[in-house]
Every structure is written in structure tokens, then in C-alpha cells.
Amino acid sequence: MAALYEGFTLCGLVPTQNASDSPIQGIELDGDSDHAVVTDSTRSVTLYKVSDQKPLGSWTVKQGQLLTCPAVCNFQTKEYVVVSDNKVIRVWKDEDLNIDKAFKATVSADVWRVHSAPGGEPVVLFQRGAVRLLDSLLSAPQQPIEDVLSEEEVIRWSTNIVAEKQHFVLFTTEQKGEHFLYVQRLNPNTLQKYRLEREDSGAPPLSFSASLRDKHINLLYLYPNGCVYQSVVAVRGPVELEGVQTLPRSLRLRLPVGEGKLGAASAVALDEAHVAVVGMPHPSARTGKDFLCIWNTNFQTLQAGKEMVGRIHGPVWCYLGKLFVPHGKALSVIPYECQKSSLASALGKLRHAGIAVSKSSVAVPSWNSLLHGDQPQGPAKIVDTRKSKLSRKSQSATALNVDQVLELIKTGPVEEVQREVEALVSRGDAQDLQLSVGQLACHLVARSQAETAFYTPGALAQLVQTQCLCHSVCPDLLLLALEHKDYFLCQLCLQLFPDIPEVVTCACLKTFISVPDGDVEMVSLEPDSVSFMEGLVAAGDRGGQQNGFSPPLFEEDSCDAHHQPKPPQHQDKKNPTLQLEACPVGLHKAVLLNEVLQTAYSDNFLLPHLKDLNAQQVILFLQYLQFVYLKFSQDVYTQTPGLRSPTMTQIIDWLCLLLDAHFTVLVMAPDAKGLLSNLESFVKSQVKLFSELGKIEGSLQELHKMKLSKDISQYSIEVIELF
């Protein structure tokens, strides 16, 4: 899981004349982990102490001069390096007050960037692609600089990486709409050029981010259509590959783009599973693109999101657990945390074990292999991704169809949409579907929300049944189904979505409880769950009960009840079994309630939403829970294995939660009295059982002791007796 914490403003920003440009050229680290060197788009460099949000120093070049590259810190000498007017390299120290009086050298060609990383000396990347170490360049500033790039090729982005004492400069270029990645190794110098695959739209990548992981450089890049790709370049790669290689890539994320083009969005990898994205719309917020979101690329789930005030200016920097986001009129620093994500934590509270495995095993474990071919990253990876790329190409025929269907959904008539979606789903194999199902569902739901007449229950049910969908992919689906009283779809969602928020669960519960029985009985529901419920209702016309609950206890209670002059209650109790036999809700309603009982939840989040239920609903639900509890307690009822059914623990948990949420109301409500006293008698019977168990505890403990003596240490002196 990942989380974004409360951020703070590091400094204000002066908007640039050209609105699309970022007011900040770059943010670099100092030798001190709490320092940030911020270079604005014009003339000044400021050193901040991040935790104090205060500037420690600021340097400005003369009016008329322009900083053309972000200042960096030379970690070896603790000096700052910046380039002004493309050709003048300036080097100064912390204590220098005036940058103009510091060292400067004019070089013979235009500089693109100076890069520096801890553990390596600064390197200078020229606009024509040549690379020099800063020291060697400054020793002979006027040395001739060769052209590496061809004439129309321009650098778009660059970075450097130090890996295992090997220094790399990576930069991407654009030439006639084609994009290339250059990997320059230093000492010994080798240059490898890769061609980036063209995105279908032909649009250039919006942002790049490179990171070092497992001796491989991972390049992450974002396209305006919301696709985030990853490419892997081996650090100890094949030494000299002839010519231009095509860089294999794998799709890590497909982000929802919303309407309109993406102007300044940017993605940066936080760790192997998490990506921070700015300038993208939040999937559940309708409008605006000014969000900072953390996505889990393994599960394609949104982990955290934050709206930033004002327009986001594009690039985002990430250093030591903090994200630096320029937006509006401020540069914000937002601490984040990424924990190793496990499936269990992604899914929330574990569900009924047997069912969970059988239901979700298809969809869940395949995520990794499906998306990334999930080999441990190594040289084989490149080959693999190439393979998967090939296979992806062969899939593109169907992908086109997905696009067509998406178009159709926007305008087409209900029947046609229904038919096409069903055809698509039944045709495609699981791997293709994984990505398209979410899109299809979102589009269908969006259209349905826009036009009340448009609703395609069959298509949606089929999409849900692919098990490729979850609540966070299409958050409105379940609510839409509720709105349209499509109980079958609701049931499917409750069964198959692992990540339904508690508020939605409660909404379902509320709807299910208050719906008239007649409405539900006509709906066809999943047959297994219905047959389970039929069995439950039919079971145990007679017979004893277990767990210490037995009818005589009621008689004891009724003795107590003699003291209380409450005839109606008394009547109830005279005939307790009869009261218990009748299911307080209709069969199908019970089936739906069972689904709610089996969803995953956290008590803390569920409790406030449970309070939304009114007293009548609570009492009815309690009665139902009591009914199921009693049925379960009966010896006669034996659970059919394999059938999805709520467990005893789930029932008790819900009972407790409901009582917690509405205790005062229930105590006051006159029609709840009988119910409560019944529940109390359960508790009494349980307490009695435990007290009985307590009586034999001594004997049990003796057994325990006998076991203990088997535990033998390294040495003991024992007494034995032989006869």
C-alpha cells in the first residue's frame, strides 16, 4: 500500500509568460539529504532546507543572462555547477555570495545539461549529444566538441545514473516524430542507441523517469493517451550492438485520461510496484486533471490520490520519500510512503477462505505474469518483452475491435451494444480482456448514467463474470446496478469484487433490507446461493441444537420472565421454536443479505455507515441474523461443502457490529425487546457453555501438561522406574 501524507509548500512560484512552461527548471539534491537546490526558469538558483521550508542561500545571474540548465551539486567537491546562456559553465561554493564573481568557463558548444549523482563526478551533456566529464572539460574549456546527433535530432530529456561504479548518461531525442533513447556509458565510453516504439497516436512521450533496479535501468515513460510503458536496459548489457535497436517495452499502466488532451502530465517510478503520476484525472473525480496519484502497477490499482490546488506544471521530482510538485503558485513537497504491496493487503480483510480461492484464483495471481511476463529482471527480460510485444501485435486486431466497441457504446442502441459487448467478451481470451474489460465497463456505466434509458444488464453481468473487474476499476457499476434494481448484477459484484468499500456495502445492505419481498422474489439469482438458502430454511424442523444452546434455556428464561408482566413477549417465548423456524425475510432477499454478510470489510470503516440504517431495518436484519445463527447452531443442518455460505463467525461479527452501531436505538425501541432478550439468551447459553468448559479446564490442562513433558531440552536428569 502507499500513502500520501500532508504536504507543505516549499516556496512560491512566479508564473512564466508562457503558460505551458514550468516555472521550475530543476530540483536537485545537495550533499545534505534535507537540502534541495531549486533552479527557476530564469535567473536564480535557491538552496532550501526542506524540513524547515526555508531558503539557505540564493544566487542570481545578471540581468540579461539566463540559466539554461538546472544547477547541480558536485558531490565530490561540494560545489554547485550551473550553465548560463548555453555556453558558460559556472562553478561556485556555498559560501560564495555572488555567482558572478565565482569561477566560470566558456565552452565551445551549447550545453544541454550538467548531470551529477552521488558517487560519480558531474558530466556535461551537450546539445549535439556529446558527453564530457566536467573536470576534463574545465581543464580545457575550448576543446572541440563533436556532434553525435544528426541535424534534425534534438534532445528531449536526459538523466544520469551511477550503477556499480559504472556511470551512465541516458537521453532521449526526437527526430521527425521518431524518438530515440541513447545510453552513454562512461569509462569505457560506449554509446548505444535504441528506437522507442511509436505509440499509435504518434504523440511524443510526455515524461520519462529512469531508475536503477536489480542491475537494470528501468525507463518509465508516459504517453498522452495514458499509457505508462516500461523498458529495461541491462547495465552490463551486450557490449556493442550494431545499429539502432528497437527498445522493447511493456505496458505497466493504462491510466484513465478523461476528456481533453493531457498537457503537462508526468509519471515517476517510486519503487518497483508504485508510480506517482501528476496531471492526470482522478478516476473517481469527474473533472480536472490536477491530481497527484500513486498507482500500483502490479495490481493496477489507485493507492493514493491528492488534488493539487492550481494547475500542475508538468514535471515532478522524487527524492528520499518526498515528491516535489510544482503547481499553481507554489512548489509543494509531499512525503509519501510505499509499502510492499501484497495481494492480501490490496484486497482487504480476508474472505471466506474456500470461496475466495475458488473464485478469485483465476484473476488474481495472473496479474504479474499477465502484464509483465514477470520474470525476475535479467537479460532474458529483453527477449521476453520482445516476445510479448510480438504477441501484443498479434492482439492488436482484437484491440481495434475493443476501440470500435467503445465507440459504439458512446452512441449505439442498447441491443447492438449488448450484442457486441457479449460477442467481444466471449471471443477474447482472458489476457486481452484484462485491460479492455475495465474500459468497456466504465464506458457502459458512464453512458447509463448519462442516459437513464440506456442500461445493459446482460453485458455488464458478463463483464463482471470475466472476473477481470474490480470495484476500483469501475466504482460506479455497483451503485448503478442498485439504482436500476438489478439485483442479479449486485449479487455478482458482491461475490466477485474483492474491494468493495464499506459505504457501498452498506448502501447495498440498506437497499436489500428495505426492498419489498415481492420485488426480489421475481428476480433470478445465482442458483447455488439460492439452493443454499432453500436448504437452510428447510433444514432442522426438529432436532437438538449445539453450542450449548437448547430449548430448556428458554424455559429458564421464561421463569425469569414471570417477574416481568409482559404478556406479548411471554407468548413469544412459550413457543420459541416456532418463532425460530420462520425466516423473517423472503428467500431471495435472504440470498442477497448473505452476499453482504460475506463481503470483506473493516469494522472501523463499516461502523459509521451502519448507523445510516433506520431502526426498522436494523431489527429486521437482526432477526434475519438471529435466524441464520439458530439454523447454524442446529445439529441437523450440515453445510454442503462447496456452496458459498456465510460462516458462523461472519454472522456473529455482523450481529455485534449491528448492536454496537444501534445499541441505544434498540434499547429504546419496543419491538426490539423480544429480539434483544433472545439474543441475550444466546449469550447466556454461550456463557453457560464456557463456564462448563471452564469446569473441565483443570482436566484439560492436565492433558496439556502431559504433552509438555515431551519437550526435552539438551540435558535433564530424570527419574524412571523399572519393574
Partner: protein, 645 residues
């Protein structure tokens, strides 16, 4: 008989090493077994799988393959040498560099005139077997670029070549093992878990058995496919059966007439009889696992309460703890002081320790390797000190067994050709050679020695089943105990009666009066009535016999799973008697008990026993080494199937 205070010792971290190779000699029915540490063990399969001989290992020796030629044993290993073993003196006789890099396999032809070895460099070399030596004969050239039929077809011997010289069929799999049979059938096993049978003439695949989903290492594979070889019907290979006796990789396998013998990383030897070879259920048809060596690794100084543990590379000396408490049966007593490791003595040189001894007073310690014997003077009272005895008699070069007399004035060393050296302590704490008892008959190594408490008698048993009794006062052979057909696995001389109690590998028990030179009446009675079947059906030999000095009727002996106190004053059990009767006796009343008593009082409370001994203070020392503890120290199996991998 009463209560006993038992020191239950579990701090002997005995760790057997993995089994690497095996060879079965069908003629003598001896199984030779090589372990990872280079030691070789010989088991006599006609004598209840008794571990007859142990040739100690050596650091630089690594054995990959063993081979019998007649009664001679050869080994070859990764050090590139072929060695022949001197089975009488339990040491390598000579070794010969093969000049082919590490040797993976050695095998002989059926006539026993030639040895073939397979080397790392891919060559197969032939050696001629001469009377006293072997001689290089010729090289069979390696087959370059030959892919699918791995072994050399011109070779007319049945040849087993490990590590697929021929390379592998597909890119990903590794052929771990290849067998070439006399009818030109080639059997290969690979890492994909397949056993494939090929026709050697045409190079075609005859049959594939998917044996296991695991990486099939040589073992699993070999384990599976020997079974089919038994059922070769000319027409087809049928996979018969899968055995899984081992928790770890099987590294060595032998097929004997009636059973499959296997051993591997989990260090124990398994004899799995093929049930179709037996008509009825009998002693021989049971599964047999051999975990512990059939000899003592623990010496106990009865007077001093010290224990000496023998490892291949070191000796550990421990002082037992003590307690002054008293308790009911079943209680654990509070410790007054804890056991204490007094000494860790590392051996010198490459050769592993083959035997060790501790004098009963705890003042002397001795051990032997194949190349030297060392004696140390020990002070264990307040300041622990150890001094090596610098001058030892020259005749004392190595010993198969060492033993001190009970007054610690003499040491006996079982030397070459079944002779016994007597080394006496002279006044100035130096040891000198006093006499050598040559063996009157057999030249087989002595594996058991014991002396009487009064210092008069010495008994020595060798692997020819002979037991010689020497008179230490007259310094001559006193008598030879009538030879019994099974090897003695333990013996002891009674402290007061000087009767020699012997237990044999077939579980028979004899008592022989040394003075009268005849079996005692009790022994005759026992033989006449016969031992109880339950006793005879036990599958581990008795490895230690001691006596109760306070009660001359009591003999204490133990095997791996129980210890037994034999009370000679009690009636012997007949076949109808309940043999394990301790539980029954416990439940009976004081009055009823005597009528149910019999001579064998067996206690199975302690398991996996390496030593049971009775100290002079009447308390019992029980050294346990739980098999679970051994297993937990084993390396993980090469590959285990894990969920979703």
C-alpha cells in the same frame, strides 16, 4: 527393580554425512557404501545388515563411485584418483592418479579383469586388474559432437556414465544420468523429470516415463528406473513402482537380488525389499533403515562422570551435570550444576578419527587415525589441562579399537592383522609397549574389545566372528570362544563373575564363563528356551553391554530404540509371555507383580540412542540423538515443488 536416575543427554551433535556411492558385491553379499566425507562402510547383508567395517574418511578424499572386483574394493573420486582398499587393515592400500581430471564413475567387467573409469574430460580409461595392483591399459577416445547416444557404442561393458558425456537433448534440460545396457539400450534421466529409453543402434526414443515433477537428479531418477530394469521383458520397459523413502535427494542406489538399497543426502541407508520376491512376511521382508553406526561413538568414564564424543574431526569431552534432589518416577530433577563442555580436541592431519577411548578415571584420553595414535593426559578437577604424551612406542602406529584397563594402567590397541598391542603406563607417566598378542587365526580387523574390572582378562572380537580372550597376567591367549555364525555387535566382561556377555548381530545373546571356558548355565538355559520373538525381530543391533556393579545379576544393554536390563535371577520369558511388560507391571499391585516379572526389563522411553551406560554412582547415562535433529540440520533438498512456481 526400582527407580533409576537417568542423565538424559542430547548435546552430542552427531551428524552423519551424506551417502554418495554404493556398490554391492553379490558374491560375498557385502555392500560397500561411501559417504561424502570419504569414509567407506561395509555392510554384511547375510548377517542382518551388520556394519562390519568402517574405513575412516580423509579430508582430501572424495568418492564418487565404488566398485567390487572379486573381494577387492576400488573407489574413484573427484580428486582424480583410483584407490584400492585394504579391507583387513581398514585403510586405502594404494591410489593411482588417472590423469583425466575428476573421475565420476568406476566399473569393472564381469570377469574382473578390467576396470573402466569415466573422467571429467570425457574420456573412458581402462585399467587392467593385476594381483596386487592395477595398471593403465588404454584410453577410449571421447566422442566429439556426438549428441544423442551418449555412451560409446564400441564399449562392450555395461557402463554407467554419470553427468551425461553426450550432452543434453534440448536446450533447457540437463541429462543427469545415462545408463548403457548390454543390449544397446540407452536409458537417460534428465532434469525435466523424464526417464527415457533409447534404442542404441538407431538412436530412436523407445519410451519416456515422466517420473516426477521435480528436478530429477540422479537419485530420484535412478531410484525409479532400477525398478523397471528388473522387469525388462525384451519388449517393453514398464515402470513398476515408486518408492519414497527419503526426505532428501537419493545419491546412491544398489539393486540386490531381493531389495533396492538406497542412500542419499538424508544420510541413512534404506533397504527396501521387493515384496514379490518373498513368499511370506518374514524378518527379511521388512523395510530396514540404518541410521546410526553399529559401533560406539561415545566413551563414558564411569568413575569420573565424563563423556567423550567422537566426531570424525574432533573429540568433545563433557562433564555430566548433577542434582541432589529426589523425585518420583517421571519427574525431572532440578539441576545442581549443568553439564559442562570441558574440552574440544581437534584432530591433527587429514585423516579422520577412527576410534577413541577415555579411561574410566577420566585421566587419560586416546584416539587413533589410520596414520597415528595419540594419548593425552587429562586433568579435569579444577583446572582443566590436557597434555599430549610425547613419546609413544613406535609399534603403535594406528588402531582399529582402543580401550583402557579399568585401573587405567594399561591401554589396548587393536592393531593390524587382528593383533592386540598392550601398552603399559610406566612410573613417569610415559607409555611403553609391553606385549603384542598376535591373532591365532583370522586377520580380519578387531571391532570390539573389552577388559575385565580385575585387570585379568581382555576379550577382542573381529569381523570373522571370532572372539579371543587373553590372559593379561600370563600375557598369553587364554581361549577362543566358540565361533558363532553372526558377528558380535557388543560384549562385556562381568565385574565379579568374569563372565563374558556377547550379543550378536542376529540378536542372539550368550554368556561365556572365561574361567571355566564354557557357556554358563544361564546362557544354556536361554539358548534352550530360545529368545523371545519380539527380541529377535528388533532391527537394530545391540551396541553396548555394561553391568550393574551393585547387583551382579543385572546386565544393561541397548540398541537404537530401547535399553534393556536383564536380570538373570528372574525367569526367562517364553513365547507366550508379554515381552514388553513394563506398562502392565506398572498397573499391577505390589502383590501381583512378582508373578509377571521376567528377565528382560525393557525401557523405550528414550529413543535414537547412541549410548546407554551405568555410572559407578548407579545412575544411568542415556545419550540420545533425535533423528529429527539430524534431519533439521540437513541442507534443503535440491528443489522442492512450491506452490505457484
Amino acid at each position: 527393580m526400582g527407580e533409576l536416575k537417568v542423565h538424559r543427554v542430547r548435546f552430542f551433535d552427531y551428524m552423519p554425512t551424506a551417502i554418495r556411492a554404493m556398490a554391492f558385491n553379490a558374491h560375498t553379499e557385502r555392500l560397500a557404501l561411501a559417504r561424502m566425507d570419504g569414509s567407506v562402510e561395509i555392510f554384511n547383508f547375510t548377517d542382518h545388515y551388520f556394519q562390519e567395517k568402517v574405513i575412516p574418511g580423509k579430508d582430501s578424499r572424495s568418492i564418487e563411485s565404488l566398485c567390487w572386483v572379486g573381494g577387492r574394493l576400488f573407489s574413484a573420486g573427484l580428486n582424480g584418483e583410483i584407490a584400492e582398499y585394504d579391507l583387513e587393515n581398514l585403510r586405502p592400500k594404494y591410489s593411482l592418479e588417472a590423469y583425466g581430471g575428476p573421475i565420476w564413475t568406476v566399473i569393472s567387467n564381469t570377469q574382473g579383469t578390467q576396470l573402466a573409469i569415466g573422467c571429467e574430460d570425457g574420456t573412458v580409461k581402462l585399467f587392467e586388474v593385476l594381483e596386487e595392483h592395477i595398471q593403465f591399459e588404454r584410453n577410449l577416445d571421447r566422442q566429439k559432437g556426438k549428441r544423442n547416444s551418449p555412451s560409446d557404442c564400441s564399449l562392450t561393458y555395461r557402463l554407467l556414465v554419470d553427468r551425461g558425456i553426450g550432452g543434453s537433448k534440448s536446450r533447457e534440460t540437463v541429462v543427469w544420468s545415462v545408463a548403457f545396457l548390454s543390449d544397446h539400450t540407452v536409458v537417460s534421466g534428465d532434469s525435466a523429470g523424464k526417464v527415457q529409453v533409447w534404442d542404441g543402434h538407431t538412436g530412436t526414443l523407445v519410451k519416456t516415463h515422466l517420473v516426477t515433477k521435480w528436478d530429477v537428479f540422479l537419485p530420484d531418477l535412478a531410484f525409479q528406473f532400477i525398478a523397471p530394469t528388473l522387469h525388462q521383458q525384451d519388449k517393453e520397459w514398464v515402470r513398476t513402482r515408486t518408492f519414497k523413502n527419503h526426505t532428501h535427494d537419493v545419491r546412491a542406489l544398489a539393486e540386490i537380488e531381493t531389495a533396492i538399497v538406497s542412500g542419499g543426502m538424508d544420510t541413512h541407508l534404506v533397504v527396501r525389499p521387493l515384496l514379490e520376491k518373498f513368499d511370506e512376511k518374514s524378518h527379511a521382508s521388512g523395510l530396514r533403515k540404518i541410521h546410526f553406526p553399529h559401533r560406539n561413538l561415545v566413551s563414558c568414564a564411569k568413575k569420573a562422570g565424563l563423556l567423550l564424543f567422537q566426531f570424525p574431526g574432533q573429540l568433545e569431552l563433557w562433564r555430566l551435570g548433577d542434582s541432589d534432589g529426589h523425585g518420583k518416577p517421571g519427574d525431572r530433577l532440578p539441576l545442581k550444576w549443568k553439564p559442562e563442555k570441558l574440552l574440544l580436541l581437534k584432530r591433527k592431519g587429514e585423516d579422520h578419527i577412527c576410534c577413541s577411548a577415555l579411561s574410566s578415571c577420566g585421566g587419560w584420553l586416546a584416539y587413533s587415525t589410520v596414520s597415528s595414535v595419540r594419548i593425552y593426559r587429562l586433568q579435569t578437577d579444577n583446572n582443566i589441562s590436557i597434555t599430549k604424551v610425547s613419546k609413544l612406542p613406535k609399534v603403535l602406529r594406528s588402531a582399529h579399537q582402543l580401550c583402557f584397563s579399568s585401573d587405567s594402567s594399561k591401554m589396548f590397541a587393536a592393531s593390524s592383522q587382528s593383533s592386540v598391542l598392550v601398552i603399559a603406563l610406566t612410573q613417569s607417566e610415559s607409555w611403553s609397549h609391553s606385549v603384542t598378542f598376535p591373532s591365532p587365526g583370522s586377520r580380519q580387523p578387531i571391532h570390539l574389545m573389552t577388559t575385565s574390572v580385575d585387570g585379568k582378562w581382555l576379550a577382542a572380537a573381529n569381523s570373522d566372528c571370532e572372539i579371543h580372550v587373553y590372559n593379561l597376567q600370563k600375557l598369553k591367549l587364554h581361549c577362543i570362544v566358540p565361533v558363532y555364525g553372526s558377528c558380535p555387535s557388543a560384549m562385556g566382561i562381568h565385574p565379579t563373575t568374569n563372565n563374558l556377555t556377547m550379543v550378536h548381530a542376529d540378536q542372539q545373546l550368550f554368556e561365556y564363563s572365561i574361567v571355566e571356558k564354557q557357556y554358563t548355565d544361564w546362557s544354556r538355559k536361554l539358548q534352550k528356551q530360545g529368545l523371545h520373538n519380539v527380541w529377535l525381530d528388533r532391527d537394530t543391533p545391540v551396541t553396548h553391554v555394561t553391568f550393574n556393579p551393585k547387583n551382579p545379576n543385572q546386565v544393561v544393554l541397548h540398541d537404537m530404540h530401547m535399553f534393556c536390563i536383564i536380570d538373570q535371577s528372574l525367569p526367562l520369558p517364553d513365547q507366550k509371555t508379554q515381552f514388553y511388560n513394563q506398562m502392565t507391571l506398572r498397573s499391577l499391585s505390589e502383590q501381583e507383580r512378582p508373578s509377571h516379572l521376567h528377565a528382560f526389563k525393557i525401557c523405550k522411553t528414550f529413543q535414537d540412542l547412541l549410548c546407554v551406560s551405568l555410572l559407578d554412582d548407579q545412575s544411568l547415562v542415556v545419550v540420545e540423538r533425535p533423528l529429527l535433529a539430524i534431519t533439521s540440520q540437513l541442507p534443503a533438498p535440491v528443489r522442492q515443488k512450491k506452490f505457484a512456481t
